[in-house]
Symmetry: C2
Subunit: 422 residues, 2 copies
Amino acid sequence: MTLQGNALIIQSGGPTAVINQSLAGIMAASRDYPDKIHNVYGAYHGLHGVLYENLLDLSCEESSVWRTIAVSPGAALGSARIKPRHSDLDRIFEVFTAHKIKFVFYNGGNDSAEAAQLIREEANRRHYEVRILHIPKTIDNDLMVTNHCPGYGSVAKVVSHIIAGDDLDNRSFFNSVKINVVMGRHAGWIAAATAIAKKGHIDIEDDDEVGPHLIYLPEVEFNEKKFLGDVQKTYNRIGRATIVVAEGIADQLSEDKFAGEVDEFGNALLSSSGKLGDYLSNLIKKNLVYNSAFGKLRCRADTLGYLQRSLAGMSSPTDQADAFLVGSMGVHYMMKGESDKMVTLVRIPGEHYKCETSLCDLKLVAQKTKLMPRSMINKEENGVTEEFYQYALPLAGSVPEIHALKPQHLKKKLMDYIRPEK
Amino acid sequence: MTLQGNALIIQSGGPTAVINQSLAGIMAASRDYPDKIHNVYGAYHGLHGVLYENLLDLSCEESSVWRTIAVSPGAALGSARIKPRHSDLDRIFEVFTAHKIKFVFYNGGNDSAEAAQLIREEANRRHYEVRILHIPKTIDNDLMVTNHCPGYGSVAKVVSHIIAGDDLDNRSFFNSVKINVVMGRHAGWIAAATAIAKKGHIDIEDDDEVGPHLIYLPEVEFNEKKFLGDVQKTYNRIGRATIVVAEGIADQLSEDKFAGEVDEFGNALLSSSGKLGDYLSNLIKKNLVYNSAFGKLRCRADTLGYLQRSLAGMSSPTDQADAFLVGSMGVHYMMKGESDKMVTLVRIPGEHYKCETSLCDLKLVAQKTKLMPRSMINKEENGVTEEFYQYALPLAGSVPEIHALKPQHLKKKLMDYIRPEK
């Protein structure tokens, strides 16, 4: 007999701009299986909702609701960063049994994959029949096997648009060094995506002029001396610099003052602190040799914060489509009997972006991190290669079209000016 | 005889997302007066370019160039934060004379109006015939007389979209308090604009649920005890809070550690530091009484930084049009003989947004700051009134359409869960 019962959707970890597209995808595809999936429930705030039996009845929502929720950032069901403790497992299966949960969609990153695996193993031990699929979600783009992760394309779009404008803002001033700290603890995918800003420039032949000029990734050993040398070289060439660093490089610095709170998975809080930016900014202020004829050194640092994953109205259409796809395909796979796997995105080679889905074993994903391959990192280890652009441009879905003036300087008619102090 | 000669455009102070629209407006209208305006020059990096005779020949650029530059953030001519010293005045008029500058467009904020006034007075003293108009530009929206300032609409759009998404991100977690520090030293126009985020929500009847819940403006005395009381009340009502503070409230705090560099106009650097956010965040962490059954308190602070004024691809169409308008009308006014004035935006009352231009005396603008009127601040002094929405919504030009799920909780079937420590 075919498995029948209720489905449960769990949103977990940090939200993305398109996490609700996956939710909408699951809701849409679930309607194709009325004989197997009786009701679809949502865990209210992830595993917290399961433990405390806080479940949402999603089947009673009108289907039109999901169209607008799909384009809204933030986890519509509520999220949590809870790791199931051994002592929680009894309770989880009590709740599953009481509510006839037979299908579980765990939407999250590699920590969630680990949680899904724990629940799976316990289900086997108890001979509780349940199918579990992991639906990938993470702005970090660091899940194994899948070509990319839903959530990444939108953050790539947001940070590249931010840096495109920020570089023009920086260009407005003399002696201006700007540091931008972006998310990414172990992998530099988000930092690398800021390079997309370069591709929006019209009519600039000398690519060197266009920022971001330097990008520092956690995959590469961070060396303060090399960093200062890179900044000095950029300053010497063009009189300014737009720099991007992944927050994860903080782990490599001798100062341990960057560490903050720790969650249940042992991840330290790096965002929501300006400390790394301030540290690097002070390093530059102390060490950069600059031309004071153009005024004081202007060194600024911004930490981009949570807006990277949640900016309303600026998500990538490609990312939205992919997020919907992994959700809906998750339902179809499960109804064919699949379980204990993650839905993956498989890129079809060709001139135009095309993507299909497949499945991979959960254990290939749980607790693992996909770093950027060396072939996408330039040989100076402070930027990306063309291979990265080919990978990331279609995911971000759009490039900010911008244009900087190529100055035509007027011939001088006067003697040089020495500005008096007063 | 009519005045003839070359025109000079000066971009000054902090860039906006639409500062180059005004430049494009001046360039476009200048072509209507080939007999009066011979060439149009740009000061390369504001007053710095004038002093050091670094002028750009803008007349030689193809007219199509300005269309793409117009939509790019950052000061295309380069900006500066230089105040003309008494000792600089000789040099300024040497440069004006050498390059036959007869028409000056000073594009900036109230500091630039002051600089324009200084140059005006010196021109009179020397009987140097020159017309000077101030073209308003500032994200702060704090210039007197004009209904609003070009640059403000775009920052209003950017921050409202950011906060709309951020509030949904915040809503994803239990016990979550999020602080966002936005620009605005003396006036709260930018902080107030984040309230526009509320207007994008579909289908939420209870407006209380939707953030930003609390907005703190420099116009109102900041009181830590009242602040904590406000946050506690919001937490008690909905279990979380999305807070916006204008950076300017730092000036009111007893701690003087928020002060940083000072520019030539005496303005202290408030942006590009996470200190205010960290301070308020610690205040909340120390004092908020929260329900630990929902987990730990999650308190985060982001300082939005320079992207507020420079986010590529997200400027307000209304703001773009207004910025172009003040530039082009500046040329038309000047060719009619007007000088020593600022171009103002005059809002035409009516259901749909309509704007005209007029002129006002420079001295009504220089060194003055237009604060938010009390009628736009709510009586609790932590938010805005309907009057503000009517003022700001058309300027931002768009509202992020978002939707949060109204949870339908499933009836519980089990006993309450007490989670073991391990």
